[in-house]
Assembly symmetry: C2
Homo-oligomer: 328 residues x 2
Amino acid sequence: MNKPAKYDVLGIGNAIVDVIAPVEDDFLANNAITRASMTLIDEERADSLYDVFPPASETSGGSAANTIAGCASLGARTAYFGKIANDELGEAFAHDLRAAGATFVTRPLCDGPKTARCLIAVTPDAQRSMSTYLGASSLFGPSDLDPACIQDAAIIYMEGYLFDRDDAKAAFIQAAEIAAAAGRQTALTLSDLFCVERHRQAFLHLVRGHIDILFANEDEILALYETTDLDSALAQVRADCGFAAITRGAKGSILLSAGQVETIAAEPVDKIIDTTGAGDLYAAGVLYGLSRALSLAECGRIGSIAAAEIISHYGARAQTSLKLLAGD
Amino acid sequence: MNKPAKYDVLGIGNAIVDVIAPVEDDFLANNAITRASMTLIDEERADSLYDVFPPASETSGGSAANTIAGCASLGARTAYFGKIANDELGEAFAHDLRAAGATFVTRPLCDGPKTARCLIAVTPDAQRSMSTYLGASSLFGPSDLDPACIQDAAIIYMEGYLFDRDDAKAAFIQAAEIAAAAGRQTALTLSDLFCVERHRQAFLHLVRGHIDILFANEDEILALYETTDLDSALAQVRADCGFAAITRGAKGSILLSAGQVETIAAEPVDKIIDTTGAGDLYAAGVLYGLSRALSLAECGRIGSIAAAEIISHYGARAQTSLKLLAGD
């Protein structure tokens, strides 16, 4: 039997500050931004895109970090690994995670690239199109893992975006191995349709051999199994993973575990402002529920509530206590 | 006759980035924050307060800068003077003003304090309590004035907060003199009840001798004239200034000019989230209206619309085109 975990969830991901601005639809085409997805950009492009960006706000982001902040807001004990620089945005990133209640100890980078930033253009339909300069976050590697912390976490949660870099991928695999050896659970989110297409074989290998809990949206799970039939994809993920949660936007979500399927409606929202972080916060709710050994239906319900809070304003961090919202 | 102005409004103020977080009511008392006002703090207090601050967002702020960004969003030609440092928050401040359409050329400070930041704690009643570390902005002085730019602006708009520092006050008076000599109009906002009480005599002297257009809320105008009777205060401000606009929160506003009084209802808002910037954006609407020689009623209406947009979300910069909202 495992010793009791010190953390309910440990997240590993790209430590990114979001620079968010509302834009008109033609802004995307005029600036060659791929709609509704995440595109990696270099520093030069980040600077030139920022020059034409409308007035913006800076809010801590990063997919797994958003999830960890959400878990913490729900009341879970959390920790996070990710690389910031020794600059003002890095300071804000660390502050916001710690203020949410997460343990964050990754050593900041000195004398290298700046803290990562993601320029998020939000169109009037609330869809977000992301251009990410990875900066310091791209220098996260195996040496940034703290094995004791991994062994102390009930669930290790990692974002698929890490697969875009070999060093981060190596860290990812190593963390999964340490977790498995300690009898801990591993969780993965597929992150992005194009990310799945870039790394399909590696993801399939990982999901089949190393992942206990999988998060994906409908497009991503269909792309992973190269099918257009959701039932077929669900049957396959069920064979591959002990637990999966598939989000379907306004159509809600489907949770699967051995012998169980649960369909959850989306939580109603007065006005959807910005969908940034919807999947991240849904995952937060489900992970929180798993950490409390709640039913599939309860996990899905809390995920939907957390996602509804996030899409009702700009930014991917909660503006109200998720614990109070979830009534848990 | 004056030559045509290149700018409709030139703002001068403290260049500040807002760090905004929702808090519970007891957070103010627990951290010795004065409710609903602006308190100046030093760097040490800024650091220790940030340490206990909840997860936050960074948005460009500064009272006069908010007004200028609002004027620009309405379609006015604008410029701004204020001192940032050569750091990431300073870069964001400059970006956001320029992206709004304002001309901003004040030389950033090198090797000095950081860009100013205002820690804004927003309680559930949407009231904001502000703790401001002036940093680089406090080094704005007469040498940062560009006389040609002042001579080229139809209205010079200044915030009362500048009176908290002698150098800024000297710059303020000098700018007003340059403007008057060039036949331009000068505008002032009283900024804050406590600011009025700190500088009552200086404000009275200024209003009587140098100011054409005065903005204040009800508390501030009562404090300026040391009365509890609004009618008496209105009669006095009318004798002192050519034009005054007095805001009254949910009760709307009163605009006064020679021979005219106009009472304007507040624009309805579904849910008030954060009142930061309400007065700044009201002033933006009125200044825009003045720049287009609109009626008192139209000036007040546009001010109310701009204020309503700002209080419906966190932060004091518009998240939608004010020009479209105002239908102008």
